[in-house]
Amino acid sequence: MAREMPYIAAIGEAIHLEMARDESVLYFGQNIATTDDDPFLAAFGHDRVRVTPISETAEIGMAVGAALAGYRPVVELYMAEFMLVAMDQVVNEAPRFRYMSGGKVKVPLVLKAGYGFTAGWAGQHTGSIYSMFMGVPGLKVVLPATAADAKGLMATAIRDDNPVCFFHHYLLTLEHGEVPEGEYLVPFGEAAVRRTGKDVTIVAIGWMVDRALAAAERLAADGVDAEVIDPRTLAPLDTATILESVAKTGRLVLVDQATRHGSASAVIAAEVADQGFDSLRAPIKQVTALDATIPYSEPMERFVLPDEDKIVAAVHQVLGSAPVAA
């Protein structure tokens, strides 16, 4: 049975269910479980639910050590930017240990961090920095766009034997969606086709999925039939589903909240150019944030971000069709 619940609650439900299912799952983080009636603390106790000081390096490094010893820590980092404080642990230690050991050890670990809080949170709490991690061998990178995926991808992340960066979008926090009850797993490396269409492929990432679907509805009114693909996981990336869609439509628009030169869309565009060039009937178009730090003031914030209008315009451009005049 599915029922409606907010995206953030779906993530919490997955962590709770996995902790109940597997005693090796631990939950660390700053400011978690601050009251005795906290549901995690009440259910799992202080041994497994641990509030930490503001020490990302020690928190993540300790989690790596616990993972090497057979535990499955979930580290709550709140803001993706806070991971940057501990890049040595995130990039050098967690994902490389298994490999450098010749495959003798494993590091099952989830780094949970919110991103993209473009609601006046300014330059250091709004970044869409996931692409920094999708190119790190050994790390998996997941970005749920729906409440159901938030639950299913978190459960899969906890059960995965590798370090997983779980990026949830802050502007989706209270968005409700249908979420299956009980055990629910969404496999990594399987993109979701959110809307089928024949004229153009739109690959949208994270928060951009809903913007792309809204743009697709407007395009439908103009007689354009857009297919919208949500990759759901950037590492592993389901390149095959994207290539299949492009083979059908011949046109690709990529929508990513990240800065243009730091975007996942740039990587996807490169893969399609490399592997699917023969399918393309128009140049690939990227709709991304400008290469600028997110400004504080709302009109400027809107200016630098992708939005429905920019998506619609990009689709018309690859179709060679003028936008319908208002």
Partner: protein
């Protein structure tokens, strides 16, 4: 040590004597001969990559690791060969790793700076100064949750003490009372610069004084002193105490890496080295105390040379790994992006 020192540590029930002293001597000789041989192989281009040797620091590795069990875990850094050998990792497989061969401890994927031997409790070595310290906290936490008296040890140099890893880890380990023994090998040089260029605090034990953890500074080239101090700390950690910090003042005879012209410091004189060499010191001490005979000492060196020559032959005979191996090992479970 400052006025804020905690209560004195419980005196050790065990002082170093015959069999343990001889075992230390043997371990130090195995490390010394291994490291010297690696230096020669490196100059002959038989060892492939970046190499950091621990000649001069064998005493710390031996005195700490020979007291540990296989289920006690050790994390090391870029200068890891001595820790690995003392912890029980086979020298032939370490050397094969340094030569990038299939029989290497890590099948040639890690090399000198990333030795892992889970079976002997060498959980890993990192090439980023200080990066291994929080990992040892995780092992200690795992022991706390799972039960048992296994202990986690992190080796690092005095250069790591100025890094965030160390400071965050000291705070968290003391806050949670984690059973980790932090062993600082203070050789007075952080890579290519003296400690005085890194900090105004001379002793690492003074850096952590406000946290009140048990700590001690010992002469790291006095193997008996390290053995006794670490033995006391180990007893505390076995009983669930910790963290503890053992600062060992030692000397790095060679440069930071093999090939380092060491223009930044004057070489120690041969006479001074005779006085400080941890192997010669223990040999003198042991002879005076009647712990072992001159023949025991000579045999320790002879056996070490024999073992290491066999390791060289083993490593040379080992094939290179299949070049495709990396693709299989990036992810546990094998799925690749």
């Amino acid at each position: 040590m400052s006025e804020r020192d905690p209560a004195p540590i419980v005196p050790s029930s065990a002082a170093l004597e015959g069999p343990a002293a001889l075992a230390l001597l043997r371990t130090m000789w195995r490390i010394r001969v291994f490291e010297e041989r690696v230096g020669v192989l490196k100059r002959a281009d038989e060892v492939y990559g970046l190499i950091h040797l621990s000649i001069g620091g064998e005493g710390v590795a031996a005195a700490v690791c020979t007291q540990l069990r296989d289920d006690d875990v050790v994390y090391s850094g870029h200068r890891a060969h001595g820790h690995a050998i003392a912890k029980g990792a086979p020298p032939d497989r370490i050397l094969a790793e340094l030569m990038g061969r299939s029989d290497g401890l890590c099948h040639g994927l890690g090399g000198s700076m990333h030795l892992v031997d889970v079976e002997h409790g060498l959980m890993g070595a990192t090439g980023v100064v200080g990066g291994n310290i929080p990992l040892a906290l995780g092992s200690a936490l795992a022991t706390r949750l799972r039960g048992g008296d296994a202990v986690a040890v992190s080796f690092f140099g005095d250069g790591a003490v100025q890094a965030g890893h160390f400071n965050e880890s000291i705070n968290l380990a003391t806050l949670w009372g984690l059973g980790v023994v932090l062993v600082c090998e203070n050789n007075g040089f952080a890579e290519f610069t003296p400690r005085s260029a890194h900090t105004n605090v001379e002793r690492v034990c003074d850096v952590v004084a406000p946290y009140g953890l048990e700590r001690e500074t010992v002469d790291g080239n006095d193997v008996a002193a390290v053995w006794e101090a670490f033995g006391r700390f180990l007893e505390v950690a076995r009983r669930g105490g910790g963290p503890l910090l053992l600062e060992c003042l030692t000397h790095r005879l060679r440069g930071h890496y093999e090939g380092d012209p060491t223009l930044y410091r004057e070489a120690i004189s041969a006479t001074e080295w005779q006085q400080r060499d941890p192997i010669l010191r223990l040999a003198r001490q042991g002879a005076a105390a009647g712990w072992f005979s001159a023949e025991d000492v000579a045999r320790a060196e002879r056996e070490a040379r024999k073992e290491i020559e066999a390791a060289v032959e083993f490593a040379r005979a080992s094939p290179y790994p299949a070049a495709e191996l990396p693709g299989e090992l990036v992810y546990a479970g094998g799925s690749r992006p």
